[in-house]
């Protein structure tokens, strides 16, 4: 039977935001322009920060407010800003990527969401947190981030997919365990930041080396080389 009516409004709001988050993952798969992809990613970060703040309120865990703020600064503001600047500097804001097989990608995405639900069922049955239903959403976001990386040729899209995976992981921590210990969260945030910086450095190397950021052209190393 439907239990949603029995939850207070904040918990319903968290689940609602979780639905919007998975929707944003689907939207990212459908974006053709890099700038709009980064935009949707920023919205996803914002939604996650909101969900975390609401969780902090319902679960009475004040350290989650800090995590929410960290996620907001990093994923909704700093990293999208860095990526947008890179897109402009590398002259890529006019490029449109032709999506190969959009219907197959969307079907695969829906199957991945179903699969992630199936995988985390035993965990959902054990958990007593109100956000336990959202664990499936977090694994879904992780898998859809990977799908995004697989179906794209632009290096920047790969970075967005990578960061989307980190988003999913953050959401998993919030929805399954009401956040990881503070030191671990800080460490993860630091790693993500350094990774973003290194990506930025990388783009210039790739761009200057092969004159484009089309990762399909990085194909000199293979088992068939002479």
């Amino acid at each position: 039977m439907n239990d949603l009516i029995h939850h207070p409004l904040e918990e319903q709001a968290i689940l609602f935001i979780a639905a919007l988050v998975i929707f944003s993952s689907f939207l990212m798969l459908a974006q053709k322009r890099l700038a709009s992809l980064v935009n949707v990613f920023a919205w996803q970060g914002l939604l996650l920060a909101l969900a975390t703040a609401l969780s902090a309120h319902t679960q009475q865990s004040p350290h989650l407010y800090f995590s929410a703020g960290l996620n907001l600064t990093l994923k909704a503001m700093l990293i999208p800003w860095m990526l947008s600047r890179l897109i402009v500097k590398l002259d890529m804001h006019r490029e449109i990527e032709i999506l190969l097989y959009p219907s197959i990608t969307l079907t695969a995405a829906a199957s991945l969401v179903l699969f992630s639900y199936y995988v985390v069922l035993p965990i959902e049955h054990l958990s007593t947190l109100a956000t336990r239903n959202a664990i499936a959403v977090s694994l879904g976001v992780i898998l859809l981030g990977m799908l995004l990386m697989v179906t794209r040729r632009q290096a920047i899209a790969h970075v967005v997919g990578f960061m989307a995976i980190e988003n999913g992981l953050f959401f998993a921590a919030v929805s399954a365990t009401s956040g990881m210990p503070m030191v671990v969260e800080m460490g993860i945030a630091f790693d993500v930041l350094v990774a973003a910086i290194i990506f930025g450095v990388f783009f210039f190397h790739i761009s200057s080396s092969i004159d484009s950021l089309d990762v399909d052209r990085l194909n000199r190393l293979s088992e068939n080389e002479s």
């Binding site: 709001a13 609602f16 979780a18 639905a19 998975i22 959009p102 969401v113 639900y117 499936a136």
Partner: protein, 313 residues
């Protein structure tokens, strides 16, 4: 009393639907800074068409002449079962959404055949386009409705609306997604911009209009009227399924009047939104329609997934 109410329902639709069409046209004209025709103009158009003699091609089959009547009758059947001003109408027990889709499909089937019947190029083109869109839109609509049905544990519209009314204010992600999907499907099914421009005169861009190019006189009047009823049907369906507040839950005259007023208000609101959207969007190229309907299907599917994953258990 029951019989009276049962006949009142379709009569309501028959007489209000041209008004809705007129209202939408009125809003569009005002938004475009034009002087709009009178709100009663669609009635005058229908009356004019009824007075004229229909001209039928000599090699047309019985399908061509029967289709307007079949279409109109199936529309009447469809609107007879939808709860519009009251939830517990006499027809509530047969108000099954699958029956509804079946009635709509019946009308559309005959219309497609009628378009092919005479053998003109444009008729065939319209029919094939309509069939394609129907094939893609129907799963999306069914998926959206099933999402609702899963929450309410029934496909009966009356019981579903009762359920939504009883739950009070609940933020259901599945409903939001299903609403978005249904709105997109409704636009495709009723042939509005961005799928099909109802006011176009360029045959190659037509979908619905191309099928009915050969019709005239009272046949055309019935078909046009059926189209207007269809638009009102979708409007009432969306308004009452997702925002049912105001609908009469008992059959007292007081509640019924309130229900009528609520339905008219919601229809006015939806009409305004539709007119604004039509103003802002451009008609899509035909091959993009599949992406649009695929997206509608995806939204409904997400609604279903949200329901299963987030709302249950």
């Amino acid at each position: 009393m029951n019989g009276l109410l049962a006949t009142l329902e379709p009569l309501l639709f028959i007489f209000i639907s041209p008004l809705l069409a007129g209202w939408i046209k009125w809003i569009k004209c005002r938004l475009q800074n034009r002087r709009p025709p009178s709100l009663l103009q669609p009635y005058r158009d229908l009356a004019k068409l009824f007075r004229k003699t229909p001209v039928v091609a000599s090699h047309a089959s019985w399908i061509f002449e029967a289709t307007p009547y079949i279409l109109f009758a199936s529309m009447l059947l469809a609107v007879a079962i939808i709860p519009s001003i009251a939830v517990h109408l006499p027809t509530a027990s047969i108000a099954d959404v699958i029956a509804l889709v079946g009635f709509l499909a019946l009308g559309r089937f005959f219309l497609i055949l009628a378009g092919l019947d005479i053998g003109t190029a444009f008729g065939g083109m319209g029919s094939s386009r309509e069939a394609t869109i129907a094939t893609l839109a129907e799963p999306a609509m069914l998926m959206g409705v099933f999402t609702l049905a899963m929450s309410a544990n029934t496909t009966n519209l009356a019981i579903a609306i009762d359920y939504v009314l009883d739950s009070g204010l609940v933020l259901r992600p599945s409903f939001v997604f299903a609403l978005a999907g249904m709105v997109m499907v409704a636009i495709a099914e009723t042939g509005r911009v961005p799928i099909d421009n109802p006011a176009t005169h360029l045959e190659l861009t037509m979908i619905h209009e191309a099928m009915i190019l050969e019709y005239s006189g009272r046949h055309l009047a019935l078909i046009e009227w059926a189209g207007q009823i269809r638009l009102m049907l979708f409007g009432v369906l969306i308004a009452n399924l997702f925002f049912p507040w105001g609908i009469a839950e008992t059959l007292t005259p007081d509640a019924l009047t309130k229900g009528l007023a609520a339905m008219l208000a919601k229809l006015m609101e939806l009409g305004m939104l539709l007119a604004t959207a039509e103003m802002m969007l451009a008609k899509m190229r035909i091959f993009r329609v599949q992406d649009y309907l695929g997206f509608a299907y995806l939204l409904s599917l997400l609604g279903m997934l949200s329901h299963v994953i987030l709302e249950v258990g």
